[in-house]
Structure formats: structure tokens, C-alpha cells
């Protein structure tokens, strides 16, 4: 998992600040790094779920699989 690409800290920071209601809210450096990991695992869970939901031997995975996986994914997160 270490070799996988991930979310840059700067991006995570900007996304979070986009949705903060209070302009005084800040995020610690460690929390940013941890959030980057959190988002990465969210995406990987979605991707793996979609790929596993693929019952047949299809080479391409499409949106139908994502629809099957989405409810549980959102419940888990």
C-alpha cells in the first residue's frame, strides 16, 4: 500500500477548508496526513468493492457494480 499514489496534503487541506463553516477552523499537519490516508482507503474500498461485485468474467467494470457497492460503502464510512 505504501507504493500506491495518494492524495496530496495540499489538496486535502483545500477540500476540507472548502466545506468548513468557521473560517477559524484549522487542521493539524498530522491530521492532514491521516485524512489523506482516510480518503485513499475510501477510494480503494470503492474500487475493490466494484471489482469484487463483478461476478462474471468481464474485462471492464461499469457503473452497475458501483451501484451495488455504494450503500454498504457509505454505511461503513
Amino acid at each position: 500500500m505504501e507504493e500506491m499514489s495518494g492524495f496530496p496534503k495540499e489538496l486535502v487541506s483545500r477540500i476540507l477548508h472548502l466545506h468548513f463553516r468557521d473560517c477559524k477552523t484549522k487542521v493539524s499537519g498530522d491530521a492532514l496526513q491521516l485524512m489523506a490516508e482516510f480518503l485513499k482507503i475510501f477510494v480503494v474500498a470503492a474500487v475493490r468493492g466494484v471489482q469484487q461485485a463483478q461476478a462474471e468474467d468481464l474485462d471492464t467494470v461499469d457503473v452497475d457494480q458501483l451501484e451495488k457497492v455504494l450503500p454498504q460503502l457509505l454505511l461503513d464510512f
Binding site: 500506491m4 496530496p8 476540507l16 466545506h19 468548513f20 468557521d22 477552523t25 491521516l34 454505511l75
Partner: protein, 133 residues
């Protein structure tokens, strides 16, 4: 009136740029899984995952802000992030472990930075010691 419209446009394009950046990262992750498992993800699926991720970030951000405020802090910390991961045991475990890894890594980096100035003053300049012959 024009100012608010310009401001709205600026905010909209800022949002679009962030979405695009998320899409790029999601796309990279999808490619890595695709290579590993020898499957392919079509563009709509990648875009859909990116969209879901971006939207969930709104919930995550608001929750984090609430957690920090609840603890009477204005800075979001790793404790708040861990609280975000509470819904699934395996997720919480993973995040807790990652947190420890990150803390350990940062400690090591700090220790290296503190040692460096001492090393440079005690060793003479550019004497290459050949350890492999």
C-alpha cells in the same frame, strides 16, 4: 450585484479545480488496482467514484469541524479523524495503525534533522570512504 456574481464564478471554478484534482488521484488509484487485478474500469465508473469521494468530503469536513468544536478546539487533530473512522471496526483499526505509523515517521524525521548539523561540523569535507571494493 456584479461582484457577487464574479465571486460565485470564482468559487465555482475553485470547486471545479478541486474536483478535477480529486478525479486525477482517483484515476491513478483505479489504474493501480486495474494493473494489479488485470481488470479495467471504464471512464464513467472512475468519474462516478471521484464524484462520490468529492461529495463525501463535504460530510467528512463538516464532521471534523464539529468534532473539534465539541472538544473546544479550533484545530482539527488526528483524534477527530479517528472519530470519523468509527463506523467500521476494520476501518478504525486501519486508521489507528496509520496514525501510529505517521507519528513514528515524523518523529524519525525530526530526529534526523536535529542530528544533521552536528554531523556536518565533526566530519571533514568530501573524503570519500570506499566501503565496497
Amino acid at each position: 450585484m456584479e461582484e457577487t456574481e464574479a465571486e460565485e464564478e470564482r468559487q465555482f471554478s475553485h470547486r471545479q479545480r478541486l474536483k478535477a484534482a480529486v478525479h486525477y488521484t482517483v484515476s491513478s488509484l483505479c489504474n493501480e488496482v486495474a494493473l494489479d487485478k488485470q481488470v479495467q474500469f471504464n471512464k464513467q465508473t472512475v468519474a462516478a467514484i471521484a464524484e462520490v469521494t468529492f461529495r463525501q468530503c463535504e460530510n467528512f469536513a463538516k464532521d471534523l469541524e464539529m468534532f473539534a468544536r465539541h472538544a473546544k478546539r479550533s484545530t482539527v487533530t488526528t483524534e477527530d479523524v479517528k472519530l470519523l473512522a468509527r463506523r467500521s471496526n476494520s476501518l478504525l483499526k486501519y486508521i489507528t495503525e496509520k496514525n501510529e505509523e505517521i507519528a513514528q515517521l515524523n518523529l524519525e524525521r525530526k530526529a534526523k534533522r536535529k542530528r544533521k548539523p552536528e554531523d556536518e561540523s565533526s566530519e571533514p569535507a568530501a573524503e570519500v570512504v570506499d566501503t565496497e571494493t
